[in-house]
Symmetry: C2
Subunit: 381 residues, 2 copies
């Protein structure tokens, strides 16, 4: 019996998008769902109570970062990640693979795993499937990700084939090494770069390993959005319908709409919190760079259509003042709004699925949307 | 009719300390009271709701800083400082004098006022009694402070006499220039350095100007604590009993206890929020530098006797992790606790006054207290 079970509730007749529920040891998650990123056991600037207020059902935390600081042994001693950070809803942890490949230096990849140097102090460290499982078992997350290589873009076909096949072999070692399948769910990650036939092969290989969920990795790594959507659409068709599908490190509001239409249930991204700290809000009209001088005397809310705490109580002029003065409350208020905004978007998408009108919803969305966000990643630096 | 009225409720038979209520246009304040500092229209890291949760009755904001950013004209346009920052309880603003003398450069003091250069961009600016009143009138604070010179320590007698007499003349200009005495209360500030006879003279001069409250300035500027207590005690005896007495820029928990015993009703200091951002908590046992390695695996709360949100939900180990990683939530959680701690201390002091046992309370306090805090100032840098 797996720790996590997906229940399909509805397929949108217009788009084919899915609405469902993921049952986990720390409660149910209504999908499609956006997961805020709490890299270092904190979603930057937010308390757990605020996350619940804005509608977070599950958060993501980064294995690589927690391995470095404070160390998984300390978190285990604290009673696990949920208790350590005072969050009693579900947590998903990544495997550390993405960070090893994007943050660390002096990497050496072998069949065994990866040797690298810490991005903090240059310390020589290594991760491999067994270690990634041990750390995540110690953290006690509800959903654990397999250790994989997220290949860079662009990569040539030979590199991708080699990397993908190793990821497939690593998945088997992960499943083998995972100690608590009844309490923590292991998800496999499909790779294959921008090559459709390799994506198909990877999807078939990965989903042939019986697991409670599967992810699409290696997208949103710098490729153009149309290519990402094309590869995603090609990949999800080979994924089972009775398991949750997670698109890693995505994204921006438009990518969420496009991803759900292509059959994705779960997303994560640092975008809402990262841009908040730079003074940028996601709104129903698109991006609002509230730091800009044009908002200095704008006494209206960040988003005129929003009813979150920030929008009910503060003006653009005040938030801009805070951002300009590097006041923490500025980052807090925008982070709060941005996460609320993405959760609200997901709720609206879910409703449109139940109403068999997600393509109409998409059209309405783009009419108002200013498509100026780059897709982010799933790690807070 | 003045905007602010003091009601004396009780004099402690043991210590002579006062308990009372200050009635203001934005509600009543029970005294003795500690006022958190919201330099730039925000008490660093905190929302107004959180301030209310921890027990803040009134906050202080800095005229000099708001004059520079975002400018008092913008705040006036926003409907005043209360509305701008979403705080509906009382606000006290200082006059900018202290900052001009401590932060800016190229100062030129004349009878007219002070010319100086902004600490932000070197811009040439000036403040004088009339300008300080105009700014504070525009901000709309409940309590405004007179424009004075806070002389440095040590200063020779001639410097202090000259500076103090100018401050006395400036007070008359402030009263003259103040536009809304029925809606905003102007407090005068007693100076006189560390010279008892000059303190007496200043107290008599300042309180001869009929105003709804008076402050003691020019203390906690670097002098030893015993000297501060001595000068303070000497000064308060010349202050009227029917008006609130405010000791500016103080302080640390021990200074609050000592100040109340010497007849003070109001205090402000950046200490709780500033040390929080450096990873230091005020606790019932004294200072806890939670950033230190000794707390890495301490799974107990910041303060074992505290029942605030932070202490009920988080461990020293987790908070230390946040502080070490420069996570905003770390500064938030400690700021929340530290302000709660000072408000709780003031409540306990107030109760001890009603119970005629403040000297006993002081003795109990020092038994547990580790007197390692330096007195802070009333400006967040």
């Amino acid at each position: 019996m797996y720790a996590v079970k997906y229940e399909l509730q509805k397929v949108c007749a217009q788009s084919g998008a899915r609405a469902g529920v993921i049952h986990t040891p720390h409660g149910d998650i209504e999908t499609p769902v956006f997961m805020p990123v709490g890299t270092l056991a904190t979603v930057k600037t937010m308390t757990p109570e605020e996350l619940k207020e804005v509608g977070s059902q599950i958060i993501l935390s980064n294995t690589y970062h927690l391995f470095l600081r404070p160390g998984e042994d300390l978190i285990k001693e604290a009673g696990g990640l949920h208790k350590f950070m005072n969050w009693d809803k579900p947590i998903l942890t990544d495997s550390g693979g993405f960070q090893v490949f994007s943050l660390s230096s002096n990497r050496k990849i072998t069949e065994e795993g990866v040797e690298f140097r810490s991005h903090l102090n240059g310390e020589k460290l290594s991760l491999n499937p067994e270690k990634a499982m041990q750390i995540q078992n110690d953290l006690g997350s509800d959903i654990m990700m397999a250790f994989d290589e997220c290949a860079p873009y662009p990569s040539d076909r030979d590199y991708i084939i080699n990397s993908m096949n190793r990821t497939h072999r690593w998945l088997k070692r992960c499943k083998e090494a995972h100690k608590n399948p009844d309490r923590q769910a292991l998800f496999g990650i499909i790779q294959g770069g921008m090559y459709k036939d390799l994506r198909e092969e990877s999807a078939k290989q990965i989903t042939s390993v019986d697991l409670p969920g599967y992810a699409v990795g290696g997208l949103s790594v710098g490729e153009p959005k149309p290519l990402m959507y094309e590869i995603l659409e090609h990949t999800t068709q080979f994924m089972p319908e009775d398991k949750p599908r997670y698109l890693m490190g995505v994204g921006s509001p438009d990518d969420l709409v496009e991803g759900v239409i292509r059959g994705i249930d779960m997303f994560d991204c640092v975008l809402p919190t990262r841009i908040a700290r730079n003074g940028t809000a996601m709104t129903s009209e698109g991006k609002v760079v509230v730091r800009n001088a044009t908002y200095a005397r704008d006494f209206s809310p960040l988003d005129h259509e929003c009813d979150c705490y920030t929008c009910k109580n503060y003006t653009r002029a005040y938030i801009r003042h805070l951002v300009k003065c590097n006041e923490i409350l500025g980052a807090r208020l925008i982070s709060y709004h941005n996460i609320y905004f993405l959760h609200k978007l997901m709720k609206d998408i879910r409703q449109a699925i139940f109403d068999d009108r997600l393509l109409d919803f998409k059209e309405e969305f783009y009419k108002k949307w200013n498509p100026s966000f780059n897709t982010g990643s799933h790690i807070e630096k």
